[in-house]
């Protein structure tokens, strides 16, 4: 684009670019700079330029482990959220009824309540004396209360519920290529409903699945409150470690380093998403 149209679009984009520069690029640059500093044993920051934080992180098995835990948590949560949200989203996308709008709002309404509040809700629900365990004991499914919280499982359950509305939104938005006529065509050609789903519905909803998975994966990797509270201090992720370093051991350069590495992780995720989307669009 050239000429007045180009100038106009540049002008229209200027405010958001400015906000983005101040609110995103500047903090990231500050973080990047901070990650190159070191600390004295007491916590005082030493202004310098060194990669020692990065080399320490990469050399430490513990950090590799928490990176693994973080990715595992994010992958499990993303898949769980997909399994929960997909049928709901498909139903909402298809259903021609005046109730469709209200029901869609209901689906995403958990977003109106803070994740912190919902996490505390899950602590109550999943506790040893909570209603879920009460039901399990009453039904005789187990003699002792199940360990549903204060562990990895608790973090998975809580995060799945918190991220499901995002997944549902992304799925509905991504169902654009899903054509009812294509499914009907498959049925008239002899495909049972199940085979129609596998051969037509699922492939055509891949863009939505990828978009929702990207969103949930990124949100799960960076989530802090839920793994921290529902993990009961036993689930260590990159985000809880950043908090640990920044707020408790006051090692800001280390916290900044982990943040930068997380940013790299997101970069890789985005590139992978782009590749997959192109493959799917073919």
């Amino acid at each position: 684009m050239k000429g007045p149209g180009y100038a106009l679009s540049a002008l229209l984009m200027a405010p958001s670019l400015l906000v983005l520069a101040v609110a995103f690029l500047l903090p990231v640059a500050t973080l990047a700079r901070m990650s190159l500093n070191t600390t004295m044993p007491g916590g005082a920051i030493v202004e310098t330029i060194t990669l020692v934080n990065y080399s320490e992180f990469l050399a430490d098995e513990f950090y590799w482990e928490i990176t693994g835990t973080t990715l595992l948590l994010a992958v499990i949560v993303t898949i769980s959220a997909l399994l929960v949200a997909y049928p709901i989203a498909l139903f909402l996308f298809r259903w021609e009824s005046p109730w469709r709008g209200p029901l869609a709002v209901l689906t995403i309404s958990p977003l109106l309540v803070s994740g912190v509040v919902r996490t505390y809700g899950w602590i109550v629900l999943l506790g040893d004396q909570g209603p879920v365990n009460a039901l399990v004991l009453w039904l005789g499914l187990s003699a002792t209360p199940l360990k549903l919280s204060n562990n990895f499982l608790g973090a998975v359950i809580g995060l799945t519920e918190i991220l499901t509305p995002y997944m549902a939104l992304a799925l509905i938005a991504g169902f654009g290529r899903l054509d009812r006529a294509a499914e009907e065509a498959a049925e008239t050609l002899g495909a049972t409903p199940w085979r129609t789903f596998i051969h037509v519905t699922l492939p055509l909803s891949l863009p939505g699945i990828l978009l929702g998975s990207l969103l949930c994966f990124v949100l799960a990797v960076s989530s802090f409150v839920t793994p921290r509270l529902l993990g009961g201090g036993r689930v260590f992720t990159l985000a809880t470690e950043i908090y640990e370093a920044a707020m408790l051991t006051l090692n800001w350069p280390l916290a900044a380093t982990i943040s930068m590495l997380m940013l790299v992780l997101f970069g890789i995720t985005l590139v992978a998403y782009g590749r997959l989307m192109r493959a799917v669009a073919q």
Partner: protein, 347 residues
Amino acid sequence: MTHLALAALSKHYGSAVAVDHVDLDLARGKFLALLGPSGCGKTTTLRMIAGLVEPSSGKILVDGADITRTPPYRRDMGLVFQSYALFPHMDVARNVGFGLRMRGIDGADATSRVAEALALVRLTGLEARRPKQLSGGQQQRVALARALVIRPTLLLLDEPLSNLDAKLREEMRAEISDIQKTLGITTVFVTHDQSEALAMADLVAVMDSGRVAQLGTPTEIFEKPATPFVAGFVGRVNVLQGEADGSEVAVGPHRLRAASEARGPVSVMVRPHRMRLSERPGATNRISGTIRRLTYVGEVLEIEIDASGHTLRVERSTDEDFSALAPGADITAHFAPEHTLVFPRTP
């Protein structure tokens, strides 16, 4: 021998009636067109035959077997959708081969049948293309090949030509007719285009408000329309209001003869191309008036005549010489009694 039979087939959506007691018998190898304006129930009827819409009541029989409750994937019908509904994530060969894979046919057998179907619709060589890389006409052919490759008992076509441009539409019209005749496959074709229905079908069912207004050959539908609706929907007509006495109809000062025994108020309908202009004193069914407008449309000259409160439209081939005609001039049109359609008028 009856291949497809619909018996009192109906579909209601709440209190709205989409299809109302449709009865049809279609012999093997015949080509039936369901013709009507949008909302007349023709597509709903087709979708019920395919199994995509569940009938509210009535029956669908194929070779005498009741398939009303059979799911679409066990009906063995090839349906071509108006939007083609190709699978965008599969290439042409996989699109066409889909029905074979669902039937457990693969390998060399499937490959040769796909090739055969693509040859039938003249698309050989495009196996590896994706639907979005094809033109509308090519997508249409893929949809047709995909429906035919499974060797369906019935071929169902839902307005397959409506998304094509005029020239391509005529081409495909002939091609679908040829394929249907070559394969001898019983076919039901839904269209709102009367010329498509007349040109392609052996039998035409004109539908109006969920009912079959008339079922007949193209000639019967056009020449002997059963209702004013059919006369008006299939081809163009001039409508005159008159009084019938059992043998003749009085329209203003004119007395018209027709093969009708109707009495009382009637509508008289004459097709514009059945009207003659030559001055013959002995001719029956003469109406005189003044020329209001002449419209030259290439092959045809359209003459609008004001005659005792009615506007008559006459169509004559431009083969004849009409240079003497001019707006405002007096003129007499006449038409044969056998081309004069009379329908009792309900007050």
